[in-house]
């Protein structure tokens, strides 16, 4: 039940895109149509779900003071985390291409893009600062990915409808996307009052 709480919390209340501004570059660049946003969103859930437990293992068993080297190696954290993310993205791309060409075609160019999506590295760094254990970090990864997926689908759908509206020329495109995301953020802020722990107590 604790894990479900973490999932809900990371997906809705502490949404990576709308509460922490993570992954905004690809969020704004790839949200012009729902179809491409869907592909990128799926790829983010996938990669966050995989890299989060791996980075947890590296952080606890290799870098921590109780790890195999018995020394505090946390200054290597950034380099190792980003190397894991870059190589996992590469590996996932190869595996998906081999076993599921249809999924590969739908994810396509989005997989390499994810390496520089800060939601992935940010998720791993938040996992460290929140001191989650292994199963909690899996739930946090999947929940964070799901929240990001929801956010990008929502903005893409709104931007598709926006084409039929009469927006001032200087505000078209990027400016409007910023204002819309701000409004979506306000809507998501209303979820902040929810306390997931209260569900388990009842």
């Amino acid at each position: 039940m604790e894990l479900v709480n973490i999932f809900i919390k990371s997906a809705f209340i502490e949404n990576l895109a709308l509460a922490y501004f993570l992954g905004m570059c690809s969020y704004l660049a790839v949200s012009k149509t729902v179809k491409t946003a869907f592909g990128l969103g799926l790829a983010v859930i996938f990669v966050l779900g995989i890299t989060m437990p791996i980075n947890w293992i590296i952080n606890t068993w290799l870098l921590g003071e109780n790890g195999i080297f018995h020394t505090d190696l946390t200054f290597l954290r950034f380099i190792l985390f980003i190397a894991v993310i870059a190589s996992m993205v590469q590996l996932v791309e190869m595996v998906v291409e081999k076993f599921s060409p249809s999924l590969y075609n739908s994810l396509g160019i989005f997989l390499p893009l994810i390496t520089v999506n800060c939601a992935i590295l940010g998720g791993s760094l938040f996992m460290v600062s929140k001191e989650y254990n292994f199963s909690e970090s899996v739930a946090f990864g999947l929940g964070g990915g799901f929240g990001w997926f929801l956010a990008i689908i929502a903005i893409a759908a709104i931007r598709e409808k926006m084409k039929y509206s009469n927006v001032p020329p200087a505000l078209r495109g990027l400016g409007m996307a910023f204002l819309l995301t701000g409004l979506m953020g306000m809507a998501f802020m209303s979820l902040m009052g929810i306390d997931p722990a209260s569900f388990t107590n009842n």
């Binding site: 954290r77 800060c118 078209r172």
Partner: protein
């Protein structure tokens, strides 16, 4: 353009002509990393609640873009194409670790407040974007200038957004109270002053207002600089 600059580079090791000046000034307006190239938004939004955080972040990003551009540009002919992303990321991660550890030593409270966002400079798209778009194809000195230009262009927007958010959200600038009931300029707190009518608006320090402020900045910039208007 390439031919003219080669002739110039023979005369001096570190030339500074119109091309070089353009590398520094272009990112301030016509090719601004945040409002035009849409790079590095994540950190730009998160660290702009206070002006001092934004200034530290601007300096850190300028340092990383300048030196990663310089190093990658010096190595550009010896990096194999297939692994270039990993090589770039490792060099950027090294520079960010340097920044992180120095900041931890120099100013610990700011380091705590910026938390994960210093680490996220690694995946700041400005750094990767400039490496891919500029440093892989240009000489080290020019790449260095391009890095500084883009870092400063990013910093200018960051400082502008942070000033607006801190002034209206907390009534202060650099933690010095300017407007609002507790203003440091007020000698007699009972006196009715033009400074104490303002009640700080908490929404300005929350997520949505960062989006609105940057959205409006983009609107203003494009209304004034017509060639940036999105035609599609």
């Amino acid at each position: 353009m390439a031919e003219t600059t080669i002739a110039k580079e023979k005369t001096s090791i570190l030339p500074f002509g119109p091309t070089e000046r353009k590398l520094l000034t272009d990112p301030l307006n016509d090719n601004n990393p945040i409002t035009v190239q849409v790079l590095g938004i994540c950190s730009a939004l998160a660290v702009t609640t206070l002006l001092n955080k934004a200034i530290v972040m601007a300096v850190a990003v300028t340092f990383v873009t300048a030196f990663s551009n310089l190093i990658i540009s010096a190595l550009r002919n010896s990096i194999p194409k297939q692994v270039r992303m990993i090589v770039q990321l490792v060099i950027v991660a090294f520079l960010v670790t340097v920044v992180e550890l120095s900041l931890k030593a120099i100013n610990y409270p700011i380091y705590k407040e910026l938390s994960v966002f210093i680490g996220l400079i690694i995946t700041n798209c400005i750094v990767m974007g400039r490496l891919e778009a500029f440093a892989m194809a240009n000489k080290p000195w020019r790449s260095f200038l391009d890095g500084i230009g883009n870092g400063v262009g990013y910093g200018v927007i960051l400082i502008a957004v942070a000033s607006i958010r801190e002034l209206f959200g907390k009534g202060s600038l650099l933690n010095f109270k300017i407007i609002g009931p507790s203003s440091d300029f007020l000698i007699d707190t009972d006196a009715i002053s033009f400074l104490n009518w303002y009640e700080p608006n908490n929404l300005m320090v929350l997520f949505p207002s960062a989006m609105f402020v940057i959205g409006v900045l983009i609107w203003v910039q494009r209304a004034w600089n017509k060639k940036l208007v999105d035609i599609s």
